[in-house]
């Protein structure tokens, strides 16, 4: 049942995981990389190798194109690469339980680097479970991996850099936009500008963002500002979209596809499974792992890099990945402490530059309050179909925390294991009980991280018996 041992097991082959792998392997560590996807790239550079050879590369933008050389370097770095491998449990020690092609295996490693990235923040509103409602990130993945765009002019709702980038890419690909429902609340730009002095270190990115915005405004599709409420309606699929703005204006329009996005949050399931401490990040409205200056978590030899360490964007991924590799190389005597420190100074400078724009972006694109306070009829737990109203009425019977609410309502018990309802449940409890979200806490994460089959789990025992 043991699929092999390595010095380092890296989970995730996105920008951070690949940088960590290239660096760690280069420093002489044995490295294994497991990843959900069929090819390296993570979400940022999803499908990069396939797209690299096609004319589509140009219209997906320069930042995407940077992934070509990274994936190529990763392929030849000497790390054992296991694509299409689902990590379903990781136990201290470390033992990683992985399924690939329907077969379960256990990999052991001395250290673990979690480069499991981020997911889009769940945005519950009435009708968000209807076919036709997707995340903007999902649409971008469809564009990158399947060269696929919405059939008709598409509605996009939300805030943050991703909708702007996707709309730019979509237009370049020949798609069309029905309208953009900008959910950025009033006054955010003013608040965000307080962070401008720091952000000036990343002037280029600021200019790029503004140029996207201007180019989009010239396209002539409606841009509705300060949207606060959304509602999707339809018989079996999205047919109609209603919205309301802060000043009470609203409309109801026909729609086939609605793309939503309200920022991204770190994937914390794997760190929690390993017992790593997390803390509430006020600025990013999510939990982030507690890490030292090398990216090491509260559990020794567990490192967390990339957006899973806290949202830092693409440029922060690679320095974080390399810092973890440097620390491990020094610890495993492949590199002197002084040499690791010297190399780390360079990476930390790059990281600090990469994060310079973050406070401004976090403030500008902080989720609107309605994201966390959906109307009573909204399905908060998509899997078990638990509404906000049910959660609210339970929330005031005693002072239940997320785990009790889960036991009584089954919210968070479905296949997504709370990935789509965890934050909403915490906010609903906090509001109903007049507590802080941090005080309310988060679901206890119960293994497995991914729904392995009974047969796959049983095969581990069968392999052991046969051995």
């Amino acid at each position: 049942m043991n699929g092999g041992h390595s010095d380092v097991l890296i989970v995730g082959a996105g920008p951070a995981g690949m940088a960590a792998a290239v660096s760690a392997a280069g420093l002489g560590l044995s490295v294994r990389v497991i990843d959900d996807q069929v090819a390296p790239g993570g979400q940022i550079w999803r499908g990069i190798e396939a797209v690299a050879a096609s004319p589509r590369l140009a219209r997906l933008g320069d930042a995407y194109g940077e992934g070509v050389s990274r994936a190529a370097a990763f392929r030849v770095c000497g790390a054992l690469y296991e694509p299409q491998s689902q990590l379903w449990q990781i136990e201290p020690g470390f033992r990683a339980f992985v399924t690939r092609d329907g077969e379960a295996r256990v990999f052991t490693a001395t250290a673990v680097i979690l480069a499991t990235g981020a997911q889009e923040r769940p945005v519950p509103f009435p009708g968000w479970t209807l076919p036709g409602v997707l995340t903007a990130g999902a649409a971008q993945i469809l564009l990158k991996t399947a060269d696929q765009v919405p059939e008709k002019p598409v509605w996009i709702a939300g805030c943050g850099p991703l909708p702007l980038l996707y709309m730019t890419q979509l237009l370049a690909a020949g798609g069309s936009i029905a309208g953009f429902l900008d959910t950025t609340p009033r006054g955010r730009m003013g608040a965000a500008l307080r962070h401008l002095p720091g952000g000036l270190r990343r002037l280029g990115d600021l200019v790029k963002g503004l140029s996207w915005s201007r180019a989009l405004q010239r396209q002539g599709f409606p841009i509705i500002r300060q949207v606060t409420e959304l509602r999707a309606e339809g018989e079996g699929r999205l047919q109609r979209l209603s919205y309301r703005t802060a000043n009470g204006r609203g409309d109801s329009v026909p729609a086939e596809v609605l793309l939503v996005h309200e920022g991204i949050v770190p994937n914390i399931h794997a760190p929690l499974a390993l017992g790593c401490d997390i803390r509430w990040h006020e600025g990013q409205h999510c939990y982030v792992p507690v890490l030292d200056e090398w990216g090491e978590a509260s559990q020794a030899n567990v490192f967390i890099v990339g957006d899973g360490a806290g949202i830092g964007g693409m440029e922060a991924c690679e320095p974080r990945g390399r810092l973890a590799a440097l620390r491990l190389a020094a610890r495993m005597q492949k590199l002197g402490e002084a040499a690791a420190d010297a190399a780390a100074r360079k990476e930390r400078a790059a990281l600090s530059r990469a994060l310079a724009l973050r406070p401004l972006l976090d403030t500008l694109y902080a989720p609107r309050p309605q994201v966390f306070a959906p109307a009573d009829e909204t399905l908060v737990c998509r899997c078990e179909e638990v509404t906000a109203g049910e959660l609210r009425s339970r929330a005031v019977q005693g002072q239940p925390g997320p785990n009790q609410i889960k036991a009584f309502t089954r919210a968070g018990m479905g296949p997504c294991q709370g990935r789509q309802c965890g934050y909403t449940v915490a906010h609903i409890l906090a509001a109903a009980q007049n507590r802080s979200v941090e005080d309310v806490g988060f679901y206890r994460i119960r293994p497995p991280l991914k729904p392995v089959t009974l047969g796959e789990l049983a095969s581990l025992d069968e392999q052991e018996t046969a051995a």
Partner: protein
């Protein structure tokens, strides 16, 4: 210092604590349940909720049969049937060599005058559980047994307690106990409780609580692992266990397959945490898929463990403390306490309010685990 005065303080808000409190309140006692986290946080919230008289220790049979009678009228006790369904529990023999043990068990309980356990042959087994692998040969069955919904049960007992005026103090861990003027004075952080009687229903932590009162009781730990799958279409109704393997298999009302059977994870009492070990749990998945080949493709939604106390003879501790006046113990259910919840609550209420009970509880006396300790 604000002191909250009661007749009885129950330490531990699991099902046994809640049941004791409910029966005490009905007997007229002003009762508080003092719970360190929240009601049902540990073993009660992690149980498979089997309602089983089948294959119990002979000493437990009388109270288990009485409990079963109570389960069949649970709505009249707590205002909800707790999701109890009496589809039977059975213990299956996979091989010829497993049959004699089941037949002997049947003969033994019959000789004692009990009729709740009976042998069934392969044909009856197939009729009751068509999804079972055809290699199974027969089973010992208790048809009145079944299973309930654990969270619904916790909620129902808690609500019943509240209706009877029981105070439930959550987030309240008892850190010291002192006997003054015929009352126990309990400290829990900033809160103080006084009560003339105390019930120790602290589950895995019961030996630590007992020690606060001067009772040294030998107590082990269990961290039984459980698997729940995705929802699947109806597959079976009874609860199935098997001779020679750690497996208990049932389907919940929601359609999830719930697999337990006592495979052990690890528990840390100080951190109140327990962990699943998948290489061990693989044996449970193997047993489940051997007995029910169709489940190999079912997806595991979650696995968990609950921490619970285990005595060396696997019998609970139910009785009056031999050392500490006004202290009563109810813990050490070793993985099979769920079914006993209603009757033990009544027993504890008898002991506290009348000083005696008509039920046979001699085998559960705390002394049996205290003498060994003193001698060691």
């Amino acid at each position: 210092m604000n002191r909250e005065g009661f007749d009885v303080a129950v330490i531990g808000g699991g099902l046994h604590g809640l049941s004791a409190a409910l029966h005490l309140a009905r007997a007229g006692s002003r009762t508080v349940v003092i719970e360190r986290h929240w009601t049902g946080r540990h073993a009660s919230g992690a149980t498979a909720a089997g309602v089983r008289t089948l294959n119990r220790d002979i000493a437990e049979i009388p109270i288990s049969l009485e409990a079963m009678e109570m389960w069949h009228r649970m709505a009249s006790i707590v205002g909800d049937d707790c999701g109890f369904k009496a589809h039977g529990q059975m213990r299956v023999a996979e091989r010829e060599e497993h049959m004699p043990a089941l037949l002997q068990r049947e003969a033994r309980v019959r000789a004692l005058g009990y009729t709740h356990e009976e042998m069934i042959d392969a044909a009856e087994l197939r009729r009751l559980v068509p999804a079972l692998s055809p290699h199974c040969l027969g089973a010992l069955i208790s048809r009145q047994d079944g299973a309930a919904d654990p969270h619904r049960t916790i909620a129902a007992f808690r609500r019943a307690c509240e209706r009877e005026g029981v105070t439930i103090a959550e987030g309240c861990g008892v850190t010291s106990a002192e006997r003054r003027d015929g009352d126990w004075h309990l400290s829990c952080g900033s809160r103080r409780f006084t009560a003339s009687a105390v019930v120790n229903a602290a589950g895995a932590w019961a030996a630590r609580v007992a020690a606060l009162f001067g009772d040294e009781i030998e107590l082990g730990l269990r961290a039984s692992m459980m698997i729940a799958t995705e929802r699947v279409a109806p597959l079976l109704k009874p609860v199935v266990s098997v001779v020679g393997r750690a497996l208990s298999f049932k389907q919940s009302d929601q359609g999830t397959l719930v697999i337990g059977g006592g495979l052990q994870g690890s528990a840390q009492l100080d951190r109140a945490r327990s962990s699943v070990h998948f290489s061990v749990l693989a044996k449970g998945a193997k047993a489940a898929s051997d007995l029910f080949p169709v489940v190999r493709g079912a997806r595991i939604a979650r696995c968990w463990t609950g921490i619970e106390a285990q005595t060396r003879d696997h019998l609970p501790v139910i009785g009056v403390s031999p050392n500490a006046a006004g202290l009563f113990h109810t813990f050490g259910y070793s993985g099979h306490g769920f079914q006993l919840v209603p009757v033990v609550g009544a027993i504890v209420a008898d002991l506290v309010t009348e000083g005696r009970t008509s039920r046979a509880i001699g085998a559960f006396a705390p002394e049996r685990l205290m003498q060994g300790r003193a001698a060691a």
